[in-house]
């Protein structure tokens, strides 16, 4: 079984939830306002965010059928496509992560779909915002692992982005043993359930990457989950 870690996430950015709901500055009634707050805390209470993270060295970059393919040492995982090749260009190692909010959120979404469709919409948005926070937490583990080796992280990139195929999912999840460790299952259409799950890869580089938001802790998405800051360090150049 793969090693899973539970993430203690007690808040989610309300603005983020509203953004998922398509909010563009409309005036909210106090009722709806209260309902959104209630639903967000209900989602936080229901979710059991957890993740698996492993870091593998890049074993080589080959080209198959005119498409670049990055191999990872000790795994059957191949990262295929121009987008991921560009994203990971120069990476020495790659962090592979999967996170989920657990089946409890899924069960509640189904209950709401049968009983309270406004609630379902808001709960779903809260779950989407929350699972990204869980992915931030997982990414923070990669950042820490990189710092251990004197390396610097890029940002995460998920199967389905650009031409990085969704077909990567079965092997990616198997590499982390994510079904046993996290309970993530995959449908023939490559849909993960629980649906509030994220998989991604993060590059580890010899030099700091530009535009990652990690230039300063204030702009870093992983800030709240950073393992380095606790020991008074940063992942930056100095």
């Amino acid at each position: 079984m793969g090693a899973a870690e539970a993430y203690d996430i007690r808040s989610v950015d309300r603005g983020e939830v509203l953004r998922y709901l398509g909010y563009a500055g409309q005036k909210l009634s106090p009722e709806l306002d209260g309902r959104i707050d209630e639903t967000v805390s209900h989602c936080l209470g229901t979710a059991r965010p957890a993740g698996c993270v492993r870091v593998f060295d890049v074993s080589g970059v080959a080209e198959k059928d005119g498409v670049p393919v990055i191999g990872l040492a000790g795994t059957a995982l191949e990262l295929r496509g121009h987008s991921i090749a560009e994203h990971l260009e120069g990476a020495l190692a790659v962090g592979v992560l999967a996170v989920t909010l657990g089946m409890g959120v899924e069960v509640e979404l189904r209950r709401l779909s049968l009983t309270d469709r406004v609630g379902q919409l808001v709960f779903d948005a809260a779950g989407s915002a929350l699972v990204e926070r869980a992915a931030d937490a997982a990414e923070a583990r990669v950042v820490a692992a990189a710092a251990e080796r004197g390396l610097f992280c890029g940002t995460r990139f998920s199967p389905g982005y650009g031409d990085f195929p969704l077909a990567t999912q079965p092997t990616l999840l198997a590499t982390l043993d994510a079904q046993r460790a996290l309970g993530i299952t995959l449908s023939p259409e490559l849909l993960m359930t629980p649906t509030k799950s994220v998989t991604a890869v993060v590059g580890l580089f010899g030099e700091p990457k530009e535009g990652t938001g990690r230039e300063a802790c204030g702009t870093c998405l992983c800030r709240d989950f950073c393992l380095l800051r606790r020991s008074g360090r940063t992942c930056g150049r100095s």
């Binding site: 079984m1 398509g22 709806l32 779903d124 449908s187």
Partner: protein
Amino acid sequence: MGEKTNDGSTMSDATHTDLLAAALSGDAFLLFDGAMGTELQARGLAAGELPELLCLTRPEVVTEVHAAYVAAGADVVTTNTFGANADKLGEAATVEEVFSAAVACARAAGARYVAADLGPTGQLLAPMGTLAFDDAYELFARQVRAAVAAGADLFVIETMADLAEAKAALLAVRENSELPAFVTMTFQEDGRTFLGTTPEVAALTLSSLGAAAVGINCSLGPAEVAPLAERMAPWARCPLMVQANAGLPHVVDGVTVFDIGPEEYAAAVSGMLDAGVTVVGGCCGTTPAHIAAERALLDGRVPVRREPPDRFAVCGPQRVTSLAPGAVGVIGERINPTGKRKMKEALRSGNHDHVIAEAIAQERAGAQILDVNAGLPEIDERAVMCRLVDELLGVTTLPLQIDASDPAVIEAAVRSYPGKALINSVNGKAESLSAVVPLAARYGCALVGLTLDEDGIPATAAGRLAVARKIVAATDAAGIPRADVVIDCLAMAASTDQSAPRTILEAIRLVKAELSGVRTVLGVSNISFGLPFRPLVNATFLAAAFGAGLDLAIINPGVRRMMDVVDSWRVLSGEDESARFYVEHYAERSDAVPTAVPSEKGGQAEKDAALPADPVERARRLVLDGRGGPMADAMREVLLAHDAMYAINEVLVPALDEVGRRFEAGTFFLPQLMASAEAAKAGFEVVRAAGEKDGAPAADKGTVVVCTVKGDIHDIGKNIVRMLLENYGFEVIDLGRDVAPETVAGVVVERHVRLAGLSALMTSTVPAMAETIELLRERAPWCKVVVGGAVLTPEYAEMVGADFYAKDATETARIAGEVLG
């Protein structure tokens, strides 16, 4: 024990059978092997690679792992076939090739017994996922047939998180082989599987279904598993099995490691033997050294005998309802169309909101089991029953009582039910006994037996006992435990025969006294048929029936007076210890039955000074503000001065139109649109209810079928569309999510529907949309199709052959008006 040989073929068959047979009856320990996956990784298996293929490519490595466990003293080795199903193997190899090679590897290692390993399919079963129960069953059945052909001795079904999936695997073994199946599920630190199943539920369901042993594997170390195994013990009617991990895994220097060493592991297992565990081994991180330590432990011990206590028990996937002797239980009777107009309408139309509301209300009122009956002559009872069960599983954790007279309906519902259901019912007729008793036995269900036979309902208590005896003889012969048999002595109207009540009470007494271990149930309310003020008669009779020994009452738990009898009886019988529940819930009650039951949210009068005094204005405002709570009151006031048409056409629809305009203009966003739709719906319901009272037909603008296409379980968009269409007066047949093209076409043809709305969220499910449209064109050329969903564009819509593309729900409503108007 402890006999070891390096060549399975030289071992006598007698010895072979003996240890396994003794272990299956709980008289001997059985030691399985330890981890395969982590051992293979130590020998160079790449992460993410299919370990099962090594049976074909490097059989010597697999045999080496097995042999080490045999040398360590394992009685059973488990084949390297955890993920060897047709779906996961894909093109790489066939299931038959892998099982054949895997069993050969195990045999070559000199294993005493070879257990064919069946792990989860990797997909999530419907309704939460998209894999149909029957398809999961087929994946397992192929593995089972392959393992039998390859010569396996037994099966181990393991690491299951989904009770339905465990059930599919166990049925596949039972129906495709004669071999015993050991079934273990995997639990998290909170004591539940990923899908919320508890150890009690797993043990009860799987042992009732005929597992040779039940238990726990993976996820946790032995110390964490021990208390969960103890929780299982009183619910398992078969040996208990534990294969824990060597602690919780963590990563050190990029490698997954487990911390619990052999001695510590065996010490924890020792405690579990005391609790009655007799089948042990190891899971992830355990090594031959762990198994050797267990061998040494077992050789100095004898199995502890367990006697599961006498109790009636059924369960859903997350919760057990159980009654110790003397305790009473409540079965909610409301999900049954007989004599209930709204329920009939719900089952006919396929709009199950009313059913769901009844389920939730009954659970809240104190029901412990829900009766589900879909018996209407003009519907496909089997399909409706299955859909109801799926939906009820989504909204209640209560176990279900499958209430049908057609054995095919019963079988369809209980076969895939994730839990142990109660079947209602069999009766004393030979035909019924031969059709229904085998179903209860085969699917491990409890069974209600009605005391009537070819001669009708016996007039005397002795006559009913005689029928009960006949039923119990059949259930005994089928191996159904007495505690799973529940006899219904059938309540008859006191108004037509005043001796009827005494006869029923006497019959209950006789059944309990003469047929030891059997339980009784009664649909109580028939007793008062034809009398005024029926609840009082029902309540009095219920108390008398409890006194006579009734175990389960089928009642409407929403009737306060009935639950008052139940709650107070539990004090008098001693079931409610120290009257704790009673004192907590009744300390403030001043009268036995309050005149009105306080309703939930919404009923509370919301006085809001900011709302307009004029009811028409107020209703409009409430729609625009998206406030459903005060809506019903406002609408009732509107109807005092206006008719229904005015209420709809001059109040609700204009308000909704304004909401639509605001949404278009961007001054409203989605949750506001939906909250408004919800408020309007509350208003429509008042108008509709008033219209029914006056006999006026409800406004009907035509019918629309909506669904999310096959393979896709995202239904938010579809639900929004449904709400809005309903608001505008369309009848909506909501087929749900992950709906097969045939289902859509079937309904469209049957109801001659003129507009179908299809939704897809993912690029990978758009082809299913095209398929659905193609089938509709073929079978229902009259039907227009509107499509929508996150990945859809007008171009995509055209590509899949749709008539319309709707970018949002308001546009769908407009299109529906255009097509059906």
